[in-house]
Symmetry: C2
Amino acid sequence: MTTTSPALDTALAYHRAWTGADFEKAMTYIAPDIVCDAPAGRIEGAAAFRSFMGPFSQIVRSATMLAAFGDEQTALVMYDTATVPVASAPGCEHVTVVDGTITHMRIVFDRAPFDAARAARESG
Amino acid sequence: MTTTSPALDTALAYHRAWTGADFEKAMTYIAPDIVCDAPAGRIEGAAAFRSFMGPFSQIVRSATMLAAFGDEQTALVMYDTATVPVASAPGCEHVTVVDGTITHMRIVFDRAPFDAARAARESG
């Protein structure tokens, strides 16, 4: 399913780290000046990215890569995650990689089940 | 960004049709027994798929392909859409193609802004 792609290698290494309970290692694949377009809006810089993905990585129970492609500078992956509040939360990431770190990421996932789980907790 | 991929050719033809106001042509790329895993759950069969994607195709104002990869049997695409209720609604599709039609699709997008737009309409 893949060809030789330096960008995909980086995307997969990042994925293995953040889904494998080694978030500090995951951050080594993130450029200091990363721009991340997420469902809630644009996130700029590694510190802000850490605040976004760090908490999510802590509620992930398991992850399965569904599809992964890449070329010299970009990669596109889709995965499913099982999380504490949501049983199946698939996500998709399109990344640009420069010198082994991710400089841009667009991440697509459905916030609705997370919003519903939060509302259920708050009302319960 | 792409290599020769029959599956990607089909995924792109489907995409061009449904985002180009030719939903009937788009349906010609959908297998009668398609299984589609969407944010709200599994959709089975072309009739149910039509009920899911048809209304969405009608509220799309424009679409931009952000990334597209494929191999012999599968393709993975990410695109952005501008829709009537939501200005930017990116989506990602992983498709399996058999004999020129899509037999399986996993589609990931964020339902939250659509839910919010609906709530705003209903309360307004």
